[in-house]
């Protein structure tokens, strides 16, 4: 069995499962945020209206809450949704609630690994599509809507069709101008936005072994853009060390069997990759950054669960150090702890001296919510994950997706720029 199959077999109390089996699996952790949480509460209210008595959730210690999409509260409706979350955690005794303005908080997917809310080998479902991110810890992590999440809160289990696994072997050494973002954009561009629909995307190979955890999370994060049910990487020493730095709780790391069956194996030689950008309006619409050097931009955005982890900020800061941004530059660290570390390490000074505005941790403009939404015809290069029409604002705005290095290089020149072409 693959790692995904082994985790789902354990969670559904079976000796074995195979791709295509439908199982009801026990869930180890579940997450809601300020969009899915109020949706869940609406489902529960409707059940109560129909006569069901709801006194508790199945296990409040396995539930956690993030405030990330519309925070700090954008308007009255957003503020009410935050109050709904407050009432939810109070009513059900949910202790892990990361509140903005009260210490550590941030984008749910970043907290999931930064705070070790989820452990290797677990089944984790979240009310957000980029829940796949957490799979880089070697867990089964997948996103769902609020009815499914409400069902998990009541019953502690949910149905899954065991996915086929596509194995992506990343071999060789990663060149200094290449980041995980370039790799995942290349994979999506080559294979399409539905190559992994209903399937698992697993990453392995020598390039994974040398890849820092933050970069691995970029790979699994954007498996969502390939349609994947989950993205996953088998845990290695680096994974175990990362988790143990953050928690004392015991866990059982799982790896796939030697004879695991993969539906298809793709091999990429990372040494040969060039910096890549996804043009509007699809993450699969890729071109080399150098092919787009005539594209003028209005804004550079460094944010989101995809592109505002500590390593993302560090690489962007290295690129921009001592230079001025020629266009509007926004930096929104993905969590409060990353924000503080970037402050203490001097990264924020580098961005501020370049002219950037630093925003609070939030999903912000990535989903067109607030904090730098785009106008008609505005062109943005962004470290985020989607560039559908209207994703970051007006339906005729244009978002180019790229690595933090490419975004920082482009901020310096005012055009889409390969990091190798920035001098001085």
């Amino acid at each position: 069995m693959t790692i995904t199959e082994k985790i789902l077999a354990r969670a559904s109390n079976r000796e074995r499962v195979a791709a295509g089996d439908v199982v009801f699996a026990n869930v180890d952790k579940v997450m809601v945020h300020d969009v899915s949480g109020p949706g869940v509460m609406m489902v529960l209210r409707e059940l109560e209206r129909r006569g069901k008595r709801i006194e508790k959730v199945w296990d409040p210690d396995r539930v956690w809450i993030a405030e990330d999409h519309f925070v700090p509260a954008v308007d009255k409706i957003a503020a009410e949704n935050i109050i709904t979350l407050e009432r939810m955690s109070e009513r059900f005794g949910i202790k892990k609630h990361f509140r903005y303005g009260m210490g550590q908080y941030g984008i749910c997917h970043t907290l999931s690994h930064e705070e070790a809310m989820v452990l290797p080998g677990e089944v984790y479902v979240g009310g957000d599509s980029h829940t796949n991110t957490t799979g880089a810890l070697g867990c089964f992590a997948t996103g769902m809507g609020h009815t499914d999440i409400a069902y998990v809160l009541m019953h502690g289990k949910i149905w899954f069709r065991v996915p086929e696994t596509l194995l992506f072997k990343l071999e060789g050494h990663i060149p200094p101008y290449i980041m995980a973002k370039d790799i995942i954009l290349k994979i999506i561009g080559d294979n399409g936005t539905d190559v992994a629909n209903y399937k698992a995307m697993q990453f392995a190979g020598s390039a994974i072994a040398e890849m820092p955890m933050d970069e691995r999370f970029t790979l699994t994060n954007m498996t969502t853009e390939a349609g994947a049910k989950n993205g996953i990487i088998e845990p290695d020493e680096r994974t175990i060390a990362y988790v143990k730095e953050r928690t004392d709780r015991p866990f059982k790391a799982v790896k796939g069997d030697e004879d695991a069956e993969y539906e298809e194996v793709f091999t990429y030689e990372v040494d040969k990759l060039e910096p890549i950008v996804a043009k509007p309006y699809s993450p699969a619409n890729i071109a080399y950054a150098r092919e787009l050097s005539s594209v003028e931009i209005d804004k550079a955005y460094i944010g989101s669960c995809t592109g505002a982890k500590y390593t993302d900020l560090l690489e962007a800061a290295r690129m921009i150090k001592g230079k001025k941004a020629k266009v509007r530059l926004e930096v929104l660290p993905a969590s409060q702890s990353i924000y503080m570390r970037a402050l203490n390490d001097g990264l924020l000074s580098i961005f501020l001296e370049a002219g950037a505005v630093i925003g609070p941790p939030t999903c912000g403009a990535c989903c067109g919510a607030h904090m730098g939404v785009l106008a008609k015809d505005e062109v943005c290069i962004s470290t985020t994950n989607r560039n559908f029409p209207g994703r970051m604002g007006h339906v005729e705005s244009k978002t180019y997706l790229a690595s933090p290095k490419v975004v920082a290089a482009s901020a310096v020149t005012g055009r889409i720029t390969d990091p190798r072409d920035v001098v001085g």
């Binding site: 899915s36 769902m144 936005t193």
Partner: protein, 161 residues
């Protein structure tokens, strides 16, 4: 089920065009319905009638896990979406929340059905009948679990064996 079809002959109709991000904070279903398909067709909500269908290409509903997407379509009047394929979260949201039926059809139906055609969908016989053109197409049968959840009226009404 019987209604008129609204055809969008394209792949990858994503959740951001079905219901744009800024509306995610809205929980009122009827309010969401006012903005259904806003990123693709601002006339949609004016022309759609209760029971109507959407026909589209591959990977319908890709992108976010927002249940707002099937909710907005359902409350705007859509009873089923016919597509060459569906993104996984949209599919399970539509079924588990019992908002609308996600029906996979083949290239024959996709190419043969035109915008505005009157359709009848028979999920017991797995048939899509084009009443305007007098043609019958096969739909892909629901997998057994999906059929049971559909018949129960959503995941909360379904009792696992």
């Amino acid at each position: 089920m019987r209604g008129k079809v609204h055809k969008y002959a394209r792949d990858n109709i994503d959740t951001d065009v079905i219901i744009p991000g800024p509306y995610l904070k809205i929980m009122d279903h009827n309010e969401l319905a006012k903005h259904a398909m806003e990123g693709l067709d601002r006339e949609f909500v004016k022309k759609v009638k209760k029971g109507d269908f959407i026909l589209a290409g591959r990977n319908f509903g890709c992108g976010s896990s927002r249940e707002h997407a099937p909710i907005a379509l359902s409350y705007a009047g859509i009873s089923a979406v016919l597509a060459l394929s569906f993104a996984r979260i949209f599919y399970r949201n539509a079924v588990d929340g019992a908002y609308l039926l996600p029906i996979e059809v083949g290239e024959d139906a996709y190419n043969g059905i035109e915008d505005g055609d009157e359709l009848e969908i028979d999920v017991e016989r797995n048939e899509v009948r084009n009443l305007s053109k007098g043609k019958v197409y096969a739909m892909k049968p629901f997998p057994p679990l999906i059929k049971r959840i559909v018949d129960a009226g959503g995941l909360f009404n379904y009792t696992p064996e």
